[in-house]
């Protein structure tokens, strides 16, 4: 894996000699930015797994705040980062039963449709307004990460009529307790409405919406925590697909920004998954919350035109 990261870095250096490495207006040669992006995303990928947060959620506030790219391109790349991560994890989660296709599909179809609206809205709004809203959403994520409770196995006494009609239930094998756990969900209609809103946010800001999906599935609808996390990834793969097309059609996806980000994040996530038992999850999580807090405030101030 370290070799792959070195290979990625080497490719940028080879590229620098293939193209004229003339300094840009701000003094730095062009290849510095994609190389820095690759390395930053590699680190984000490593910390995202133990911190229990999607890499896409970190990407937009951090890259939007500290790199010179316009927010339009950052959001386009952010959606692809979240999409590629969800697509990579999806098959394994579905095969293991941690992701439920049956639960994901109705929610994802609604959220996909609303993400198209969110993406259009985000691309139509002035950049400073998007920055302000992004800052508010990122700060809300920080609060959510602090206060949101989790319920390993929520109690659902009786599924609602829609949940029963659609048979939104299943069984998964819990490796920790070594038990097959049956689950069912309730509050399906409020859940569908919440996912409509989640789709708008995902499309508008280009951030993965796992931070919202998991509490909605777990605390609102009553799916077990592990099923919520697994199903969230399947939902994201569909929601981000729709929103990504809006950005592609608008011309807001630049391979020079998107590809180093996707590759760096995916390589980093593989290392993060291997280091899951070595790194202290709580310490990493606090560190990530700190960085998000800083990035959220920076986005807010940038949008308000305060500071550099």
């Amino acid at each position: 894996m370290a070799r792959a990261a070195a290979l990625g870095s080497g490719l940028f250096l080879a590229a620098a000699s293939a193209h004229a490495a003339a300094p840009a207006a701000n003094g730095a040669p062009w290849w510095v930015w994609p190389l820095a992006l690759f390395l930053v995303c590699f680190v984000m990928g490593i910390v995202a797994v133990p911190a229990g947060i999607g890499g896409g959620t970190l990407f937009v506030p951090i890259v939007g705040g500290f790199f010179p790219f316009h927010l339009d391109f950052v959001r386009g790349a952010g959606l692809l980062v979240a999409l590629a991560s969800a697509l990579s994890a999806g098959p394994m989660l579905l095969r293991s039963g941690l992701g439920s296709l049956r639960l994901a599909l109705p929610l994802a179809v609604l959220a996909s449709a609303s993400s198209i609206f969110g993406a259009q809205l985000g691309l139509a709004m002035p950049a400073n307004v998007v920055q302000i809203l992004l800052g508010v959403v990122v700060l809300a994520i920080v609060v959510l990460m602090f206060v949101a409770k989790k319920s390993e196995f929520p109690k659902v006494d009786r599924p609602d009529a829609l949940s029963q009609a659609l048979a939104l239930n299943g069984v998964f094998y819990d490796a920790a307790s070594r038990n097959a756990v049956s689950w069912q969900v309730h509050r399906t209609v409020p859940g569908l409405i919440v996912f409509l809103g989640i789709g708008v946010l995902a499309g508008m800001f280009g951030i993965g919406a796992g931070w919202a999906n998991v509490p909605a599935l777990n605390l609102l609808m009553g799916a077990p925590l592990k099923v919520s996390a697994g199903t969230s990834s399947v939902v994201l793969s569909l929601v981000d697909s729709s929103a990504a097309w809006v950005y592609v059609n608008k011309g807001a996806v630049l391979p020079m920004i998107a590809v180093p980000s996707v590759v760096g994040m995916m390589l980093g996530a593989r290392i993060g998954a291997r280091l899951l038992n070595v790194l202290k999850g709580q310490v990493i999580r606090r560190m990530v919350i700190g960085v998000l807090l800083f990035a959220g405030l920076r986005a807010l101030f940038k949008g308000l035109g305060v500071g550099p």
Binding site: L11, F12, A14, A15, A18, A20, A22, A24, N26, A28, W30, W31, F69, H70, D72, L83, A84, L87, S88, P91, M92, L94, R95, G97, R102, L105, P106, A108, V109, S112, A113, I116, Q120, L123, A165, L166, V171, Y173, A175, R178, A180, L238, S241, A243, A244, W245, V246, V248, N249, K250, G251, A252, V253, P255, M256, I257, A258, V259, V262, M266
Partner: protein, 138 residues
Amino acid sequence: MKPSVGEQPPEQQRYARVLEWAARAGLLVLVLSFAAYLTGLMEAHVPPQKLPELWVHPVDRFIELTGSPRGWGWIRLIHLGDIAGLLGIAILAGGSVLCLLSLVPLYAARRDRAFAAISLAGALVILLAASGWVSGGH
């Protein structure tokens, strides 16, 4: 007892299989085309050294300055390295359509009309987004 892979519903297994291949194909095309762009093997629509003065602008201004295509206009410039990357992105963002359509016969055979319709609706939503009709790229 730990359930085996075979115990997942058949539609879930099929979806996982199609998704896996779509993700692999998309990432492969994305990385190979990008390597060809970076190393100069493929000609570029916008040379990399010009990007730092362009990527600071909103997308509309960027397109005005570079003449980059909107919507599906990129297809006719697919021979250019930076544009070819969009093919990988299209495979990644379009793979779910194949996954969803592959479910329809399974649900239909089981007379699960609700989920056949939901799968079809999901595919149509993504196709609608891809068409550019609702996203301004048409």
